[in-house]
């Protein structure tokens, strides 16, 4: 049970909508995670040529009209798909609830780069004629756009905004949803994170300039966290939106409950623009564990943020080794399969592990041809799934640039 009263309501996940490079729903994604399938493909990036990336193939028009897609953004389209899937999955009839009492809170790594790059490209193609700049540029690039597009699509009149949290965005969107319910602002929240990052060349060019853009002759092995030969990040798009509500509300509705969120924490490194700080990560995980009223030994799975950068992986493993110095906790990661889905990563990767409450499997982190000795640790699940007796508690890490750390803990109900 929860220790103390830091949360006045018990919050549960009752719906999951997602799209990823390995599936457009949780069942599909879970199967590919267990099977160790990579979703990374080679794709043409403006100015740069063929690069590995994680792309999604969901039907943009399943829940959205062509006109709103044309006016909106790829991130908004991903969010609309995921939010609709989450609402359906939760069995929530929007016509029967007060739409003022549902909110949309989505984490983002960045937003607006896709539109701005495209407009500047078009301006260069047209003799720098700024009179051709799109009238849609401002509504597309305001930072709340993906969450706002969801409210327009679903007719939601409760609050919406995005949480700018670099690559901790997915966790932070979920946390924001929890807090909004705790505050009494909403009864239901659609929360998580989205990424449209592969649509912008700038993010590829920047990681390339940092020497941190992942590559491999076999594109499916380009993203290989913890591997001795890892050479950087593979940029991916995707989204994961949770429908969450209080336990009381879920029980009253007779809703299916995926998990209860029993702990979370977030903090700042205050040490570097890009290099992570293991000590702050340790503090973040400890804070989440303490709030959950459990000990590290109680946690069955830790999903690493593990992006495939040299220093990022070493730092995180150092932190996780210190916190989980026990024989009970298994450790896996997700970016080998799907790449780094930026603002979606935290939410998407947590979702990928949640089915272990039911199926008892722990999916592997893939593409570790030879473990980097500096990333070695006990109970690391690599390349092959393992079956356990039972999984009850999962901790999901998500960290980002400018030193933002987040950990979320969920348990089986």
């Amino acid at each position: 049970m929860l220790k103390g009263t830091w949360m006045n309501k018990r919050i549960v996940i009752t719906g999951i909508g997602l799209t990823s490079p390995i599936g457009n729903n949780l069942t599909e994604m879970r199967k590919n995670l267990i099977d160790g399938k990579s979703g990374i493909k080679s794709t043409e990036i403006r100015y740069m040529g063929e690069k590995p990336a994680g792309l999604c193939d969901f039907d943009e028009f399943k829940y959205q009209k062509k006109k709103t897609r044309r006016r909106g953004t790829r991130a908004g389209s991903i969010a609309i798909y995921c939010a609709n899937e989450a609402v359906l999955d939760a069995g929530l009839n929007l016509e029967e609830i007060d739409k003022n009492k549902i909110g949309v809170f989505l984490g983002l790594t960045e937003h607006g780069n896709v539109e701005t790059e495209e407009e500047i490209f078009q301006m260069h193609e047209n003799d720098l004629n700024y009179n051709l700049w799109s009238i849609h540029h401002n509504p597309r690039t305001v930072a709340n756009a993906p969450a706002g597009e969801v409210t327009l699509n679903l007719g939601i009149t409760g609050p919406h905004f995005t949480v700018g949290a670099a690559c901790a965005g997915g966790n932070m969107g979920l946390i924001q949803g929890i807090q909004q319910i705790q505050l009494g602002e909403v009864d239901y929240a659609l929360c998580g994170g989205v990424s449209e990052s592969p649509q912008t060349f700038g993010i590829f060019a920047a990681f390339n300039a940092q020497g941190a853009l992942g590559s491999h002759d076999d594109v499916t092995k380009a993203s290989r966290p913890l591997c001795k030969t890892r050479n950087g990040i593979v940029i991916a798009e995707g989204g994961c939106v949770y429908h969450i509500e209080s336990l009381e509300s879920a029980e009253k509705r007779g809703a299916k409950i995926y998990a209860e969120v029993i702990g979370y924490a977030y903090n700042s490194d205050a040490s570097d623009f890009v290099l992570p700080n293991a000590q702050r990560q340790i503090e973040c995980m400890h804070k989440a564990i303490d709030r959950a009223g459990i000990t590290a030994e109680n946690i069955d799975i830790v999903n690493l943020h593990a992006t495939g950068t040299v220093m990022g992986d070493i730092n995180e493993v150092k932190a996780v080794r210190e916190v989980f110095n026990n024989q009970n906790t298994y450790v896996n990661f997700t970016k080998g399969h799907i790449g780094h889905s930026m603002g979606a990563a935290g939410a998407l990767e947590l979702a990928g592990n949640i089915p272990s409450f039911e199926d008892g499997f722990i999916h592997p982190g893939i593409n570790v041809e030879e473990i980097d000795p500096e990333c070695a640790m006990d109970n690391l699940v690599i390349n092959k799934a393992i079956e356990t007796n039972t999984v009850n508690i999962i901790l999901n890490n998500s960290f980002g640039m400018l030193g933002i750390n987040s950990s979320v803990i969920v348990r089986k109900v």
Partner: protein, 81 residues
């Protein structure tokens, strides 16, 4: 350019700006907004596409000329001359 050509140009642009709409049964003498799901942003888009694709300018005081398909054609045909 014939009025028929200009009509095709306008319809092509409307088809892109309002891709969910069925244009076959459009009454050319009736208001476009009353027949199609078009708002003020869509009309700005139509003006933008005329500028981008055909270098045709429509000053804001002339926007009322874009009310119907017929009035569009009547107003725009001299600009394509």
């Amino acid at each position: 350019m014939t009025t028929e050509n200009v009509k095709e140009i306008v319809l092509d642009i409307i088809a892109d700006v309002a891709p969910d709409e069925e244009l076959d049964g459009l009454n050319p003498a009736e208001s476009l907004r009353e027949q199609l799901d078009l708002d003020s942003m869509d009309f700005l888009d139509i003006v933008m596409e005329l500028r981008k694709r055909h270098k045709v300018e429509v000053p804001s005081e002339d926007y009322p000329h874009l009310a119907t398909l017929n009035s569009c054609v009547e107003y725009l045909t001299p600009k394509f001359a």
